[in-house]
Subunit: 293 residues, 2 copies
Amino acid sequence: MTELPIGLVQQACSADLKSNLETTVAAIRDLATQGARLVVLQELHRSVYFCQQEDPAIFDLAESIPGPTTDVLGALARELNLVIVASLFERRAPGLYHNTAVVLDSDGSIAGQYRKMHIPDDPGFYEKFYFTPGDMGFQPIATSVGKLGVLVCWDQWFPEAARLMAMAGAEVLIYPTAIGWSREDDTDEQERQRQAWVTIQRSHAIANGLPVVAVNRVGYEDNPSGGEGIDFWGTSFVAGPQGEILYSAGTGSPENALVKVDLARSESVRRIWPYLRDRRIDHYGDLLKLYRD
Amino acid sequence: MTELPIGLVQQACSADLKSNLETTVAAIRDLATQGARLVVLQELHRSVYFCQQEDPAIFDLAESIPGPTTDVLGALARELNLVIVASLFERRAPGLYHNTAVVLDSDGSIAGQYRKMHIPDDPGFYEKFYFTPGDMGFQPIATSVGKLGVLVCWDQWFPEAARLMAMAGAEVLIYPTAIGWSREDDTDEQERQRQAWVTIQRSHAIANGLPVVAVNRVGYEDNPSGGEGIDFWGTSFVAGPQGEILYSAGTGSPENALVKVDLARSESVRRIWPYLRDRRIDHYGDLLKLYRD
């Protein structure tokens, strides 16, 4: 198979975990009837984006992998004969939690998982409180539809992560995401932020000659500690290996989309743009430093 | 000074080296009267883009650094009290040539040079015949207007180069460039290429929180070995540290532009988007390989 039908589920979430999962499952079933062989879910789709506050009680939302959500989604993947990229709040041990993407293969098994490596921490996005940075590195996950370079949200701002996935044979980069606007920013600033988010991910497609799939949540979520909440900006999209936009969702509504991506086109593009040929690894050593001072 | 007035010279070149330099000098004088403190020239502005063919006689175009062009531009920089980023075909020794950017400081001295590290080689762009890949690494050049992260053309496709310059304290990334369309490609492909070129360079601004200046040549140049030549697509531009476009030239004509860039904004942007804080250098080791196999 060189043309892969990929489903994207851009959804709005509430505090009702059961209802969120029902919405997700219904979307996956809908995309399966349209022919999806791979479905990508947004970051932390089981719940609201709970990192607007730091509250130890919220660790109750975390679950093991395998666990209740992978049981449901694994069975669904097997039933529908497709691959699912899910994003969970992983409870690895008491006091040790991760922001983890897990891939359910079309036979229902867990093909692999990726623990978010770069963890943000900004006003409204207090992720360093909840998530230990991943310890599994940047390894694509082999599935029945190809090698998936699964990364998560904040990773999308780091060209190093995309490069390492491509260098390990990833055929597509996948970013479950939860990003949105603060109402304290004016509309110019909001648009600069959204365009930057699209641009940096398109650039990973270009630099590495492979398609990129980004799935973001949508809708307004309150800030439980007071003040403005977050308007998640949707804009889930797929870019081809030249960074060209193949599909882009709106900013305001849930949206399920099926996008057919020609995986064979990556090698054609890499032949005319042979960046992998010309990397100067003899002079890249300082990339392993924080700063060159 | 935090607001730096930067001049861009997007020009068309002919086989007449003297005339090309006269055009460049006139443009720099014009930009100086508008207040430029830094002027960026396009790649190999002394000549046509000669790499459409492989011809040993073309090495006659190469010159030493310091040499005749740096003498002219150094004197001009001193007279006009501004910094010039030039791009020359460097003759380092008989049989050893580089594609070199040289920075003339406002006192007329050579502030530093950068030898293009990543060398392309594609139909119509036979640079590996002419240019030995640089041996000076990725070092910003300190000048009277700040630390300049000068890179050249093909480097623009490599996030590693931009990152290393930012990590060494570059305050602005600068790309003299010569890139254009083949008439054998249809207009959709041509536009994908141009957009990819803009997008990847905007992404370096975003990933590193600093402004980017790209200056490209314009006009059609024949292919001396027959067949179609190259339509250089202009589109010289400046992006701010969120990747936002501050200025963009057209695709069809020579254009001199003065763009004021607020260098102090970089730190504000890096405070809300603190990517330098979160790089996972403990897992970046494989970036020093060609491939992870």
